[in-house]
């Protein structure tokens, strides 16, 4: 199963959580070592985001993200896991699990019935 791991900021955490969070390099070493991560990266903050749509044939480009919230997407990873439990185990070791919030979304391939 392929999962997209959204890594989001979440102001609701303590100094102790920050201290308990593992290092991102440790996580990368672990997840890449197990061959469970296809790709992933950090993303520039929402102040650098651009949103666009085409309506009535006209392109509308605006500054900023889809929605202004305190929990904005700060990065992503694409995981290839056996099942959700394994994806949860992998995500639970991510530093942002301690200081942010992670969302696992299963892929829904277009050629799926």
């Amino acid at each position: 199963m392929k999962y997209l791991l959204f890594v989001a900021c979440d102001p609701d955490h303590t100094e102790a959580d920050v201290a308990a969070a593992p290092d991102i390099d440790e996580w990368l070493e672990y997840v890449n070592g197990k061959g469970l991560r296809i790709t992933g990266d950090r993303l520039r903050p929402v102040s650098d985001a651009t949103t666009l749509r085409v309506r009535g044939g006209e392109l509308l480009v605006t500054d900023g993200p889809f929605a202004e919230t305190t929990e904005w997407i700060a990065g992503f990873d694409i995981l290839e896991c056996e099942d959700l439990d394994q994806a949860i185990e992998v995500a639970a070791k991510h530093p942002m699990a301690y200081t942010g919030r992670l969302e696992l979304r299963p892929f829904w391939p277009l050629d799926d019935e």
């Binding site: 999962y3 896991c81 099942d83 959700l84 439990d85 394994q86 994806a87 949860i88 185990e89 299963p106």
Partner: protein
Amino acid sequence: MTDARAAAAVADAVAAQRLRIVASLIQVTGDWDLAEDCLQDAVERALERWPVDGIPDNPSAWLTTTARRRAIDVLRRRQKERTKLREAQALAELARDLTGDDPGPYGDDRLKLLFTCCHPALPMAGRVALTLKSVAGLSTRQIARAFLVSEATMGQRLLRTKNKIEHAGIGFRVPAPHRLAERTAAVLAVVYLIFTEGYAPTEGEPFRDDLAAEAVQLAGLVAQLLPDDDEALGLHALLLLQNARRAARADAGGELVTLEDQDRARWDHDQIDAGLAALAAARATGRPPGYYRLQAEIAGLHATAADAGATDWARIVIAYDALLALRPSPVIALNRAVAVGFRDGPEAGLAAVDERGDELADYPLLPAVRADLLRRAGRRRESAAAYREAVAVARTEPERRYLERRLGDVAADRP
């Protein structure tokens, strides 16, 4: 062979084997609907064949084999239409299982089913519904009735839950050892919620005994499947001990009777014995008492007391203190205050309530508890005011009638 005898034999075999058959078919095929359909088909065949051919020597094996054969037929038919790797593997495994006498690792499959139904990635309402459907074997209609929704709504809820299992890739398996404790807690929470919904529904009828009985059964199954888990034993003990009071909780007119006034001869003493035995087994694990075991200890102290006056309130208060330390909640704080009221007198109970006034302020049972303590303390006017407040926030009709009766007693200066 009469049809009635055959039908009874079918019912017995289903009661004994349903869960094993469904769990093992889900394990092999990964298809929840297929598993239910194949069982249903096997039951229909049994009802057709057994009155004619006689009851087989091993009814359980007959049912299992027939359900598996049915699964093979369905998968073969599907395979002709399109090839799916998972189905091909399932076919091979089912065919292999049919040839041997080995019934397979059934215990594991039932546990897998339980953990999957109660997976924390599923919405709570979905966990409850799917556990009642797949583990307890209730029909969609029965579950819909128990939760006061339409059959269509419950069908949708079950479908969405099964879809999430499939789409999100929730594996049909027992969690890894380091997650077992928290995942077991999630299973116990679902069983406990089913029980409370039956024993003390938040709306509608006063009790739904069938739902509470299902929860007791489920708790027994969980305790049997996880024999080393002291909290699984504790929950089973708790539900047995509470459910043992069911017949005494309403009088002939269907009116609520509080624990204090219940006719203890009407308690189910066999169930109390079973509850005490489960409690002893939980204690024997030597682990410090957890959330459910502490509540079972309290229920056990009530169950073994001749009447409210003879109850060991001191030990009950100690158990509530331990519960509060473990998992602070307004309900527990309020129950503790009631116990303090019995141990040290109503004024002490009131003081215990007021001590936690802020955190209890929005709790709907607060005015009822205060009203009762004020009544015992002889402060009738204040008691009547609190009862009026309690009537206004009563959650169920019988609860409201009970409070109005009490209000009448206090207002008329009856004891």
